[in-house]
């Protein structure tokens, strides 16, 4: 009786492993309940919103959650679809606004004009000062 129990327990344990790897394995009548239970647990997935929120709390970046193609048969779950959606990224400005460019040109031309005037004064001033002495 005890040996029968051990034998049944061994067979059941082996069946659980085999069925988990290949659910097409036909269950013997005594393992049918175990097969049904494994099938039932296979349907128990956490809520996609919960999974996405938890991933966010764990600082998991959406791009890091690559879908498992083998288990999903190439399909994305709702959760993974949401996670893989590209988030809008704020691009740094690449063009200078026209008003800023115009202001820059105005400032630069003012500097050049002032510098030009200063050069003229610098060149001419000694000559002007020399005149009275002549």
């Amino acid at each position: 009786m005890m040996n029968d129990d051990f034998h049944s327990a061994d067979n059941l344990d082996a069946f659980v492993d085999a069925y988990r790897h290949d659910p097409t394995v036909p269950p013997p009548p005594e393992s049918q309940f175990a097969a049904d239970l494994i099938d039932l647990t296979g349907t128990l997935e956490p809520d996609p919103d919960f999974a996405a929120q938890l991933a966010q709390r764990l600082h998991i970046q959406p791009g890091h959650l690559t879908p498992d193609r083998r288990s999903m048969n190439g399909k994305l779950s709702h959760e993974e679809h949401l996670m893989l959606m590209p988030k809008p990224v704020q691009q740094p400005p690449t063009r200078i606004p026209w008003t800023l460019a115009a202001a820059l040109v105005a400032v630069l031309s003012a500097i050049f004009q002032a510098a030009g005037g200063y050069l003229i004064v610098l060149v001419c001033w000694p000559r002007v000062r020399e005149k009275p002495g002549k």
Binding site: L12, F33, L40, P46, D47, L58
Partner: protein, 188 residues
């Protein structure tokens, strides 16, 4: 570690680098979220509490992943974290609720469409699990819901593999009986 190569890497290798590699941690999360959620759901019988405790498990993992030494199975190591969190949950609940109230707490059901067709069956299973002995609940949660191997389950329960096989055999027999009782009660 790039994302494409992650699927080929073992849990243990990922866990060793996960404290500094976000992609490795994300891969572990992706691989084990459902498994841990199912284990916790089998232990507590309520979706809301299962979500809360699953979240606590992964938050604890994030903080303690650096202490994983890579000597044993990562799946078993993570399940032990979840198991401790479930134990703490029952310890704190015991001080708040009487045992009768605990047993009367109805099992909430998942709301996803896929589960609707299994609604009655899942409700009766979760309800029946509450009537099993703690060892039977433990072996079913670890081996069937938590998808651990016999070796990993034996390690966590501190029992021999032969003892785990026998426990599983008896737990399934008892659960089947309990589910049958529940179905009969519902019909009556």
């Amino acid at each position: 570690m790039d994302d494409d190569s992650l699927s080929k890497v073992s849990d243990e290798q990922l866990a060793r680098v996960a404290s500094s590699d976000h992609a490795a941690f994300a891969e572990l999360y992706r691989r084990h979220l459902s498994r841990i959620y199912r284990y916790v759901l089998a232990r507590v019988g309520s979706v809301h509490d299962a979500q809360d405790l699953t979240a606590q498990t992964f938050e604890a993992l994030l903080h303690s992943i650096g202490s994983y030494r890579g000597t044993g199975s990562f799946a078993a190591w993570l399940t032990v974290i979840a198991r401790n969190i479930v134990a703490n949950y029952y310890r704190s609940r015991r001080s708040e609720l009487s045992l009768d109230e605990l047993l009367d707490t109805p099992a909430a059901l998942p709301s996803t469409d896929e589960i609707v067709s299994h609604r009655l069956q899942l409700a009766s299973v979760l309800s029946a699990i509450k009537n099993l002995s703690l060892e039977h609940v433990e072996v079913l949660s670890l081996r069937i819901f938590g998808q651990l191997s016999t070796t990993e389950t034996a390690l966590i329960m501190a029992r021999s593999e032969a003892a785990v096989k026998m426990l599983l055999h008896r737990a399934l027999r008892d659960l089947k009986k309990q589910v049958g009782v529940n179905v009969v009660e519902e019909v009556e």
